[in-house]
Subunit: 161 residues, 2 copies
DNA sequence: ATAATTAAGTCAATATGGCTGACCTAAATA
DNA sequence: TATTTAGGTCAGCCATATTGACTTAATTAT
């Protein structure tokens, strides 16, 4: 069955080639996050802190609710990480117009760390995609986008308004 | 500085666009792994078990050492997960020619689970890349490949010999 | 033949990042 | 006024990773 399918399938879509994509995603994602991980380790932070810093940097005055929607974790999980970031003055909290809400912002210290971490990843991506055509890069982005579940595509659009 | 750089940089390479790639990787990778995660949860396994099953399925008779090289975790971490997989009969162990080594293989039960998990991801990838040109798909794979660190590129090649 | 190296395993302690459930306050809205 | 929403907190649990120290058995090098 699988063999017959493969015979009728273009080369780049057969099981073996698709499995390579699984592996490429695994290896590429792991190495992509390893740079920031090393810096974070020095200050006793983890990837969870990075994500919070990244998205607060991305969208200044983001609320807890919005952040939870982006990160897709529970508020209890966010709370531990966020409290550390606030108490160590990487993030400051202010009250929103709706007084039930809170707005998060990076402090100067937070911006500095955000920049340090993102720069590693930005440089890595730029170095790689620099060698490819605009067509290839757009294809790359579109394929990644299509791999996102519908619900989260909306989130991606929202944070890129 | 950053602004000046951006003015001199092609659109698809400027900071804002590159940051989108960071986010796309985050969202895409998360949703890519969420399917298997749900199945694994039911049998009290996690992503770590999936990785072991995947790579044992990929390379029959893989040794512990090779597996550790692929997964880049410590043997203590592997041990817990692997022992569970062996005691629950998803994986069987035999002794290598070099009697210090062990060779790992999937049992029928293991193959069935491997197939169930991989099928989800294979279908997802195929569904997505089906809509793209061969040129785009090859570009996608090459870009991912270039994002892998040199040392791990070798590993990727080795498991795809 | 002996020494050194290698493959694998194990014990113990620790950190991180998730989770659930239960419960609370204050503010906004119906 | 009642309900919903945003946010917080306590307690306990689980999975996945880490480090360090130590062991055994087999292979390889001297």
């Amino acid at each position: 069955m699988a063999d017959l399918n493969n015979l009728l399938t273009p080369f780049f879509l057969n099981d073996k080639e698709v499995r390579k994509v699984i592996e490429l995603l695994f290896f590429a994602y792991r190495d992509f996050t390893s740079g920031p991980d090393k810096i974070l380790e020095k200050i006793n932070f983890g990837r969870a802190h990075h994500r919070v810093i990244y998205f607060v940097g991305k969208k200044n005055h983001i609320t807890i609710k919005e952040l939870l929607r982006v990160l897709q974790i529970t508020k209890q999980s966010l709370s531990r990480v966020l409290n550390q970031l606030v108490s160590e003055k990487f993030i400051i909290v202010s009250t929103g117009l709706d007084k039930r809400t809170k707005k998060l912002s990076l402090t100067e210290k937070g911006k500095k760390l955000e920049n340090e971490l993102s720069t590693i990843q930005i440089k890595k991506i730029r170095k790689v995609i620099n060698e490819f055509s605009e067509e290839n890069i757009n294809g790359f982005k579109k394929i990644l986008y299509e791999m996102i579940d519908e619900y989260n595509k909306k989130t991606f659009q929202e944070i890129n308004d």
